[in-house]
Assembly symmetry: C2
Homo-oligomer: 119 residues x 2
DNA sequence: CTGTATCCTAACGGATACTG
DNA sequence: CAGTATCCGTTAGGATACAG
């Protein structure tokens, strides 16, 4: 495998700086579940994201070509976001992580409380 | 699937707050490749992590029960870190992400440059 | 409805020096 | 060798107000 040390172009880091972002993961998995969504729908579905972070995250994902944006010339405005083909390929990986989280959260929480008692 | 909205105990968020951390991912995948490693070995292999962040990250991973720490009473001191069984189960998922990154980095970089030109 | 623009605070995390 | 302690600049990101 390619040596990752001190390599600014390391793919792992390139992608981690993006999908390592909690909001990006949430947006991608949500779009993966619901398909095309409007801005407000995403905003309400994710729930605890701020408007600002949703905007920023969507822009970054568009920039990376993972999400596409379609704007309708209507009043009031309507904007729809959809995963691109590339974006879709990321969904199963993130879902696998989500499943891992579900399967292991209990153990992790227990470990944390044990650790807290000892220290 | 469990509704993730406004749920502070959401497993996905619990895990994302940890593996969403770039340093944690790097430590886990590195230990996954190399097996047991000493502090300095990890420090040098990862390369651009600071001593402080390595210490902090290892502590958090121990707290979650993903990494175990073994200290030898020697002079100079020797400390070895190893993935726990739980930690090991996370490795293939992270490696899958790394492979995804390798496969898609080119397209992502291209998308970014196109985006940069237009805007 | 779908954003943009500021302000502002907590935290992240690097650099450095010190310790057992 | 394997950390700890401290300082300190940068940034993430929430709150709020405003705009097209």
């Amino acid at each position: 495998m390619k040596n990752r040390n001190r390599d600014p172009d390391c793919p792992v880091r390139t992608v981690l700086d993006r999908i390592g972002d909690k909001w990006a993961v949430l947006v991608i998995t949500t779009l993966g579940e619901e398909g095309t969504m409007r801005f407000n729908h995403l905003y309400e579905t994710i729930g605890d994201i701020s408007q600002k972070m949703l905007t920023v995250t969507l822009k970054k994902l568009q920039e990376d070509g993972l999400v596409s944006r379609k704007m309708y010339q209507e009043i009031p405005p309507r904007v729809e976001y959809t995963l691109t083909d590339t974006g879709v390929t990321l969904v199963p990986l993130l879902n696998a992580l989500a499943e891992w989280a579900n399967a292991n959260m209990k153990g992790i929480k227990k470990s944390r409380s044990v650790y807290a008692e000892v220290n």
